[in-house]
Amino acid sequence: MGLTTQAPSQTFSDETRTNASLTKFLHGLPGVDQVGADERAAMLSTRSIKTSAKAEGIDLAISMIDLTTLEGMDTAGKIKTLCAKAMRPDPFDPTTPSVAAVCVYGDKVAQAKSYLTGSSIQVAAVATAFPSGRASRAVKLLDTSDAVAQGADEIDMVIDRGAFLEGRYMDVFEEIQAIKVACKSAHLKVIFETGELRTYDNVRRASWLAMIAGADFIKTSTGKVSPAATLPVTLVMLQAIRDFHNAGQRKIGMKPAGGIRTAKDALRYLVLVKETLGDAWLTPDLFRLGASSVLNDLLMQRKRLQTGAYSGPDYVTVD
């Protein structure tokens, strides 16, 4: 699943000349009615995914996981088991797809790379003073370059929510651009921490801001703030991606992260993608699930579909 970095075909140079012009552009986007967005997401979550659809969806979801560990207590041993799980999620069933990527802190990139040698699994590193984003631009750039130098294939950056909420959109824009340059060939995912932006209007504005600044993916959350990913927030971001593409721009990827725990949750996200962006986005190149515990539930459901019996948590590996 080789990811290709695409350059923006239009530079939005007029819109991004000053903070005032950028504000005018972002505030000129159509509003989002919260009640209506919540309703649409709730309706789509009633889709009944059974039998063959469930089997396809489970395998697709597994192949889209960014298997994540982002803890102060992460050790080489923890990274090693995570990578082993990423490559062979179910040691008893070689037909199980491997996940898309492992996601770690920057200082664990080299270890992850070495444990994943020979596989096609990407290594994603969180950077830019994750999760708060509270550091100087110089530190954030260094944080990014360091992860890239260690071999990170993907960078998950956080935006400066403080600057965004103050209306300093230009600062956020320039920071994403600068980080994009520091990423070199690595893919850039831009995290909004939608649980801090709160309104869907803000989520739509942040989506456009990141997309015109050069994001390859837009991502809901760090997983460190509640609420993390929700279906309606993801829907609003998917609609922004659709509008961006309809405007003649490139295809942006989407990554909901945090709070996705069950196979049912994962399938609901796939339904959202399918009915908002279409099948073209149902690929790990354009959709990822930032999660860890969801993998075991997907594996248990996979086994249950094959055998008709629910095996239980002792039959999947704990990492």
Binding site: P30, G31, V32, D33, V35, G36, A37, E39, R40, T46, R47, S48, I49, K50, T51, S52, A53, K54, E56, G57, D59, L60, S63, V236, Q239, N246, L270, K274, E275, D279, L282, T283
Partner: protein, 477 residues
């Protein structure tokens, strides 16, 4: 890897349809002389034989209701409430059975009967159960009195929900009823009759007579009913208004509509698209308050239509019992013929027709979700009620023009306004002549909210406190 939804059919095993059904009179099912077949419109399969009530049968039902009125009207409100609460709880307990039967007989998707119709039915009984001992606050002063026997005639688009809208307030106020369900959709009303038995409702309080136009005529013209409540076509509504003129029967009519769904250029576009889709394709467009005229501001018309077409390609049309179906079957061959006739007229008059690409089942009655653009106010599809999944798109330049076009209709049941500007919502809603106005939503129903129309859309209100008034009169002593 692909991800296509597999069939997810709701089981019909929970429903036990009898081969034949009698009339529900005085608490028991009784046979009649003639019968007719009721079918599943999605498959055209025969479901059951239904008794056609004669004038004599209707008379028996009215007499049973008259006798029952004596004790029911004198019962303490709190005691009537117990029966209504009991009925509401049984409806919840048997909700899946009711939803499945409704979809089988009507053709609407199980997702709608399960998530919209049946929950609203229970909500109406709960709401009016709460009113039964609080009638002093219904707006008619202390000790208001019930009218007597109500003759109620309901349509086929929301068979059980319309039954609830009619029966719940009538009973709460102390009336007894004779109800005629629509000819094509009698089954959930007959299951409701069984629920009345299960709830030990006193005999004669609810009577259900099945049949077609003749049965309805006998009911409306019966000399011993005090009230006619009708939901259905404006044509039949006119007949009823004439028939009761000069009698002392009270009447409420809830008739047709041709609602304008007005989208301003500052609307939340994605939610407006959902509102347009829900406004016209909910229940196959068999909704009297359907948003069948889209009025979109010219400056965003192209964007809105582009998104609407994309969205409509995702509509899932087919087996109503599949839990993922969005648009089900047209209720009858006659209705399908009418939709086709008006759509063909739209094309002949010069409007552009576009239908969502979909494969329709071979058996049953089906019509694809359809949009007409380049529609003028003079076209029949802009003026007549299609009562099907057909949207007419008109544009406007200013709010004044939107109001003028929206009001330029003999109907006035509902309207929708889509704008992020609160002041515009208030201003528009004061100028639109429609009984129900939705702002940034559409087709929302609630037991506490009155519903009814202006002009040829009828008179009287159903739902909420206002829904009690048509079943009460001020204290006579």
């Amino acid at each position: 890897m692909s991800f296509e939804y597999a069939p997810a059919p709701e089981s019909t095993a929970i429903v036990k349809i009898k081969p034949t059904y009698g009339l529900f009179i005085n608490g028991v099912f009784v046979d009649g002389e003639k019968s007719f077949s009721t079918i599943n419109p999605a498959t055209e399969a025969h479901l059951a034989d239904i008794t056609e009530a004669s004038a004599a049968d209707v008379d028996r039902a009215v007499r049973a209701a008259r006798v029952a009125f004596g004790s029911w009207s004198k019962m303490r409100g709190a005691d009537r409430a117990k029966y209504l609460y009991r009925i509401a709880r049984i409806i919840q307990e048997r909700s899946r059975e009711l939803a499945v039967l409704e979809s089988m007989n009507n053709g609407k998707p199980i997702r709608e009967s399960r998530d919209v119709d049946v929950p609203l039915v229970a909500a109406h009984f709960f709401h009016y159960a709460g009113w039964a001992d609080k009638l002093d606050y219904a707006g008619l002063g202390a000790n208001p009195e019930p009218l007597g026997v109500a003759g109620q005639i309901i349509p086929w688009n929301f068979p059980l929900l319309m039954l609830a809208w009619k029966i719940a307030p009538a009973l709460a106020a102390g009336n007894t009823v004779v109800l005629k369900p629509a000819e094509t959709t009698p089954l959930t009303a007959l299951l409701f009759a069984e629920i009345c038995q299960q709830a030990d409702l006193p005999a004669g309080v609810v009577n259900i007579v099945t049949g077609a136009g003749e049965t309805g005529r006998a009911l409306v013209n019966h000399p011993d009913i005090n009230k006619v409540a009708f939901t259905g076509s404006t044509e039949v509504g006119r007949y009823i208004a004439q028939a009761v003129a000069g009698t002392n029967k009270k009447v409420t009519l809830e008739l047709g509509g041709k609602a304008a769904n007005i989208v301003f250029d500052d609307a939340a576009i994605d939610q407006a698209i959902e509102g347009i889709v829900n406004g016209i394709f909910f229940n196959q467009g068999h909704v009297c308050c359907a948003g069948s005229r889209l009025l979109v501001q010219e400056s965003i018309a192209e964007t809105v239509l582009g998104l609407l077409y994309e969205r409509m390609k995702n509509l899932r049309i087919g087996d109503p019992m599949d839990k993922n179906t969005d648009v089900g079957a047209i209720n009858s061959a006659a209705q399908l013929a009418k939709i086709r006739e008006l759509s063909d007229a739209g094309e002949a008059e010069g409007a552009d027709r576009w239908s969502a690409p979909c494969t329709l089942p071979e058996k049953g009655f089906w019509f694809p979700p359809t949009v007409f653009t380049n529609v003028s106010q003079v076209h029949r599809i802009a003026r007549e009620e299609v009562f099907g999944p057909v949207l007419s798109v008109l544009t406007f330049r200013t709010p004044d023009e939107a109001v003028e076009k929206a009001n330029n209709s003999p109907y006035g049941l509902s309207a929708g306004i889509w704008t992020e500007k609160g002041s515009r919502i208030l201003e528009m809603s004061s100028r639109l002549r429609a009984g129900v106005i939705w702002a940034n939503t559409f087709n929302k129903f609630d037991a506490t909210s009155p519903f009814g129309g202006y002009k040829e859309s009828g008179y009287g209100r159903e739902g909420g406190r206002q829904g009690l008034e048509p079943y009460l009169k001020a204290a006579s002593k």
